[in-house]
Symmetry: C2
Subunit: 248 residues, 2 copies
DNA sequence: TTAACTTTGTGTAGATAGTACACCAACAAA
DNA sequence: TTTGTTGGTGTACTATCTACACAAAGTTAA
């Protein structure tokens, strides 16, 4: 293992979203610091998955590295949602104390680049055990204490996600390869915080020729089994209409 | 004037767009370097408006500072479109030579944050004289030589602009306070590289209640004078419909 | 084996928005 | 008064959006 030199004033933070067929979740890392003598808990809050970039790696690679380290996953949807450089973003009292404590040679002034990651929950959950990493419902974030400006980063990521999801077929990144229309609908409802009429939603999906029905059906469910579908990016790219819709 | 210390490895670059009622333009700075002895031109190309951030300023302020320095304008639409951190982004042969030449203590590895600025051409043009700064039609950029990865930044900004313009009422930032519908149509056509049917376009504008007709008309034009309109952000914010339009 | 439960999956009618298309009106200049 | 130029309007057709109710296909429990 090569020791990489970090860039002390540039970091990358990942807002990692997952969907459990019920609600949208975000992956957070617990940050804890105890008084060495008394054992008193001085800091216990959460941070996004992030780290400083290395001197010999670009931003996207740094984000991918962090994601892989935490989830074991490769080839994940990962996209920038902004750069953050407020002067005081890492200098709250707890944050100062923390940086002192871990003593890694990070600068006082750090610009971070935010990445948003969408992962298929069914493929993870395992690698996380015995680490201080866990999924939290996005609705819970408002009540949590978070390090640095990470709560702000989270909400910025959330807004970016809601904007993108209306305009690009990225929601599928949060679903397994095979999914039902109901699952897709629940996902959009969770993402946008709304609810849709079932028949109208399905009519819409029927127009998306890149959402392709399979011969497979659910099995063992105590109700009428649903049909599985898959998302085809090839079909999407081919049939995509460059529609212009001014906002009214 | 206080001397600010720069951050050697973080910069901001502004892609400044303007509209002259005919086409979309971008503001570029000429970069020239001559051999000290022979006078031979070693470098003559263009860069975006950019500079390293200062230690005591955040990213948005740095972008605003750069914009003000170049155009004299304040309160300009200015929005991030990405962060760029490729390892080799400032290390082409000419770029190395240039950085050596200007010798400002910039790092070899620089992460830049791209900002896109939209300005009302009628308010500038003046302050630019006797500087190596000029407007270029965006269609001309493909044939120009540009410093660093600035051509790539430009195209990324262009795509971001085209995306945003379909979904947010930011095009108005490129027009004067009062404008005609034809000017608005030409602007959208220039931005998106398409053309629209006049009647349908005007029907659409009529639905945008935030585009408000004035009593004023054009004067001194050798044809039927057009009515002026203005954009009202207040009305926009009030009447905005949170429409969801999945892409098909 | 029947009944109860749960989720799937379907159609229609009215309203709204999108598209394609041609001509007269108002002004300046010659 | 004619010419040139841009501004400004309406209609018929199609596509999409919205609101809304009930039978079908499974499992489970009586």
């Amino acid at each position: 293992m090569i020791a990489h030199k970090i860039v002390p004033n540039i970091s990358v933070d990942c807002v990692i979203f997952g969907f459990d067929f019920e609600k949208l979740n975000v992956l957070l890392v617990e940050r804890e610091m105890k008084d060495e003598k008394t054992g008193e808990v001085l800091i216990r809050d959460h941070t996004l998955a992030g780290y400083h970039i290395f001197e010999d790696e670009d931003l996207d690679s740094a984000a991918a590295r962090i994601l892989k380290g935490l989830t074991g996953l490769d080839n994940i949807f990962l996209e920038q949602f902004g750069a953050f450089g407020q002067l005081d973003r890492v200098s709250g009292p707890k944050d100062k104390m923390w940086l002192d404590y871990i003593n890694k040679g990070f600068a006082d002034r750090v610009v971070t680049v935010g990445y948003l990651a969408l992962i298929d929950n069914t493929k993870v959950t395992l690698t996380l055990k015995d680490r201080n990493v866990a999924w939290f419902p996005v609705s819970m974030v408002s009540d949590m204490e978070m390090a640095f400006d990470h709560k702000y980063l989270f909400y910025t990521a959330m807004e970016a996600l809601q904007r993108k999801v209306k305009v690009e077929p990225i929601a599928f990144e949060l679903l397994p390869d095979y999914f039902t229309i109901s699952q897709l609908q629940k996902l959009y409802e969770a993402l946008l915080g709304t609810s849709f009429d079932k028949r109208n939603f399905r009519k819409k999906v029927a127009q998306m020729h890149y959402v392709i029905p399979l011969r497979k059906k659910q099995q063992g469910v105590p109700h009428k089994p649903a049909q599985f579908y898959l998302f085809s990016r090839e079909v999407y790219d081919k049939t995509r209409k460059g529609r212009i819709s001014f906002i009214i």
